[in-house]
Symmetry: C2
Subunit: 324 residues, 2 copies
Amino acid sequence: MQTVTMADVARVAGVSRALVSLAYRDAYGVSPETRENILAVGRKLGYRPNRVAAQLAGKKQLTIGVFLQDLHNEIFADIYDGIREVTDQAGKHLVLTVGDTVGSKDVEGLETLLENRVDIIIAAGLTLPDRLLKKYTSRVRLVSVSRLVTGADCVYSDNHLGATLATTHLIERGHRDIVFIANPPSDGYLDRRAGFEDAMHADSLPPRVVEGSYSRVEVEQIALQILKSADRPSAIFAHNDQAAMGVMDAMAELGLTPGVDLAVVGYDNSSLSKSPVSGLTTVDARGSELGRLAADVALERLENPDQADIVRQTEPTLVPRSSS
Amino acid sequence: MQTVTMADVARVAGVSRALVSLAYRDAYGVSPETRENILAVGRKLGYRPNRVAAQLAGKKQLTIGVFLQDLHNEIFADIYDGIREVTDQAGKHLVLTVGDTVGSKDVEGLETLLENRVDIIIAAGLTLPDRLLKKYTSRVRLVSVSRLVTGADCVYSDNHLGATLATTHLIERGHRDIVFIANPPSDGYLDRRAGFEDAMHADSLPPRVVEGSYSRVEVEQIALQILKSADRPSAIFAHNDQAAMGVMDAMAELGLTPGVDLAVVGYDNSSLSKSPVSGLTTVDARGSELGRLAADVALERLENPDQADIVRQTEPTLVPRSSS
DNA sequence: TTGTAGGCGTTATCAC
DNA sequence: GTGATAACGCCTACAA
C-alpha cells in the first residue's frame, strides 16, 4: 500500500529521477531504449505518476475545472459529453464539481475548483448573481456555458430565438391563450421569457407568465393549479424539459391528453422529450455541441490568455412532436 | 492573477507560516485574536488555500474519490446526492470521475482517481471484469456500489429479490409469456436475470431472456423486433428504467398502450418511471440511500482500515403503476 | 502560544 | 543524452 515514487523507479532503473520524469511524459532528451527500460521498471514496481505533485511542481496549464449545475438534468450530461470529447483528445485533465437542483451550491463548486488550482473553469448553468460572479471572473479564466456573462468567455444557445420559435409555433397552431412557466428569475436567464413575451406581443396577444422552478415535482404542483383554475390556457410553454414534464405529470393526473386537451412545449430536447412516450415538442439547444464549443474556447483561451472575450452562440431549432 | 500564498499572509500578518496554516484549519495552538487577525489578512489579500499543496504535504485522509458510471442515467445522480449528503457533513473532499454509457471507461476513471491519490474510492456501477478489478482492490480501498465484489466493501440492493418481486407481480397479473431484456452480461450484474429466471421456474414458466444494452435507443430497436415478431410476449421486464423506456418508445411507435396491449416493468424508480406520464411499474433500488450507505462505509473504512470487508445490502420494493 | 527546519513527489533549469 | 539542484506551497514535528 506504500506508494512507489519516481525515486524508486530511478533507483531500480539506475538512472536519475529527472530522466524518469521525462520518460513518463515522453519528452525530448531520453533515448528510446532507456525510455522503454524505465517504463518497464515502473510497470514492474507498480509505479503510478502522482498528479498532485506534478500539478504543484509544474507550471504547465493542463487541468480544466468543470462545474455542472445539476446531475438530475440530462442537459448537463450532454454538455459534459461534449466537453470531454475535446479535452480527452487534447490530453487535458478535468476536475469536476457539481451543484444541485436549487442552484445553491455555485459558490461552493467554484471555490473548490479554485482551491484545486485549475487553469481555467468551464461552468455550465451558473445561477449565482452577476455581482458575486464578478469576484470570480477577476481571479480566474471562466468559460460560461448557457449563461451570458460580461467579462468572461461565453458559449450559449440563443434562448430568445428558441423561445420565439416555440411561441410562434403555438400561435400558428391557433393558440391564443398561452402560459409560460418561467425559471426562477436570476441574472443571465431571462431570454426565454423575453422571447416568449416578444413573440406574443408581436401578435398582440397577452403573455401570461408564471414563475416555476427547476424541480419537476414543484412544477407539477404549479401546473395543477393552473390547469384546475377557471381560465385554463390552451397551451403551456415551459422553460425547460424537466418543467414541461412536470406539466405532463399534472395533466396525467387530471386525465388530460397532451396535444389534445392542452398543448405543451418544453426546452432542451433532452431524452425526456425525445421519447415517443412523452412526445414532447421542444427546442433543441444541442447540449453536446455547447460542450464541445466550450472546451474549444477553453483551449483557445489557454493558448492565448489576453485576447478579448470570446462569445459563441448557437442557434436552437424547434422539434415539433405530438404534444402540440 | 499571481497567486497569494501562505507566506504572503504570514508576512503581512506578522506571523510565521505555520501559524497561518494552523489558523486556517482552526487547529489547536493559536489564540482566537491572532486567528481572527490572520483570517482577516487572508481575506484582504484574497488568499485561498492550495489544496494541491495541502494534499501533497499532509498525511491526513480527507479526500474520497467517486466514480459514476453514466451521467445519463439518473440513478447515479441519486447515488451522488446520497454520497454528498454525508461527505459534506464529514468535511471530506470529493474527487469525481465519470465513465460512459457503454462502460468502456472504468479503467480510465479509476486510474485518474489513483493518480490523484485519493484515500478511498467509492465506485458506482463498475462494469469491468472481476479479473481487472482485482488489480485495483489490492492497491486502494474500494467501496463498490451496486456491484458485488469480493475483496472490497460493497453496498448494493438485493437485485435477485427485486427481480423476483417484479416477475411475481407480472405472473400474479396473469402473464405467462414474459420476456426479460437483460443488461449486457458482465461480472457482478447477473442477479436480476437470475431473479427473473428463478421466479419463472418457480411457477413452471419458461423464462425468455433477450440481451439488451444500457442505451435507451438500442433497447428501443431490440424491443421493436420483439414486438413485431410472431410470438409477441404479453409482458416485458427490463433490466432498468432506461431500457424499459426504450420498450415504451417502441410501443409508442407501434401504437401500443402500456398496461393494456403489453405490460412493462422497469428497475430503479428513477424520475423516468416516477412520472405519471410514463406510469412505469418499477423496482425501487433507492439510489440516494445506497449513496449514503456507501459514504458511511467509506468513512468507517478510513477510520478502521484493517477490519473485514463491509457488506451492506438494501431491500428493494416494488412500485406498481399503470404500465402493468 | 509561536517560530524553525525538513519533507511530500514532481517539474524545471542548469551544467556535464 | 543525462544528472544534480532548486523550486512548488503546504504540513508536521520539534524547539523556543
